[in-house]
């Protein structure tokens, strides 16, 4: 016998009110990040990272531009989900918790936009 109400079953939200979306998003982004991060780290071996022109040349290759544009937002989203979980686990004061969660969202949005802008500027900018 289920103790859940019929409405609760239909909405499928559980006690946390947002279902399993946070947990599921963490897993899906991690699944995407495994090949993306390994591609990125392995790629760095092929170029002289201390040479600005060499790295620019690398970022300008279409496949690398695309993969970086995918990597940056997914990494930021995964980071936001993870740091949110840490705040929710250790910060029990409701006001501080909400403030920290909002700050994390603002910060991750800023970081993601900065990264995307930088990749696009390197990829499409005329002079560097």
């Amino acid at each position: 016998m289920s103790l859940r109400s019929p409405m609760g079953r239909v909405l499928g939200l559980g006690s946390a009110k947002d279902g399993t979306s946070h947990w599921w998003s963490t897993r899906v982004t991690s699944l995407a990040l495994v090949p993306l991060c390994i591609w990125f780290v392995v790629s760095l071996y092929g170029i002289d990272v201390s040479d600005h022109a060499a790295v620019v040349h690398f970022v300008r290759q279409p496949i690398n531009t695309i993969l970086l544009l995918v990597l940056v937002p997914i990494a930021c989203y995964h980071s936001m989900l993870g740091t949110q979980e840490i705040v929710e686990d250790y910060q029990h004061d409701k006001g501080r918790k909400v403030l920290a969660l909002i700050l994390l969202q603002f910060l991750h949005t800023l970081v993601a936009v900065s990264g995307l802008y930088a990749v696009l500027k390197v990829a499409f900018g005329s002079s560097l």
Binding site: S30, V41, H52, A75, S79
Partner: protein, 131 residues
């Protein structure tokens, strides 16, 4: 939250320290380190977009002793979090959730992390120390 007289569930300190606990804590700590490293990664991209002068300044900074420590720590965190994350994905799909398998995979991810960190640190950091 105002009723503080409630009985509390047992917290960390009552449990015997176990390898599964250590791998779990390390996964969270390396995750936090990687969130901070994300800022460095974006800074690297922004420096790249800002031109050779800014980029060179960042390379000089990261080539120094402190920069080397940061990069090696970043690589260790990255490999550990990646290996432990893959372990979690296996667990989520129902594979390897028993004492023997968890012990084996704990050793496996630590060993893999050490090997990959040493390899990647050598190839990625060493050439930059003397450009």
């Amino acid at each position: 939250m105002s009723n503080t007289g409630r009985p509390l569930s047992p917290h960390l300190q009552v449990y015997r320290f176990m390898y599964t606990m250590a791998t779990s804590i390390a996964h969270r700590v390396t995750g936090a380190v990687l969130s901070l490293s994300l800022i460095l990664f974006i800074l690297w991209l922004v420096a790249l977009a800002s031109g050779p002068v800014y980029y060179h300044a960042l390379v000089v900074l990261l080539s120094g002793p402190l920069g080397t420590v940061v990069l090696v720590g970043l690589l260790a965190s990255f490999w550990y979090h990646t290996c432990a994350g893959i372990r979690h994905l296996f667990w989520d799909s129902g594979i390897g959730i028993n004492k023997a398998a968890a012990r084996l995979s704990a050793y496996a991810i630590v060993a893999t992390t050490i090997v990959l960190t040493l390899l990647s640190s050598y190839w990625l950091v060493m050439p930059k120390v003397h450009p």
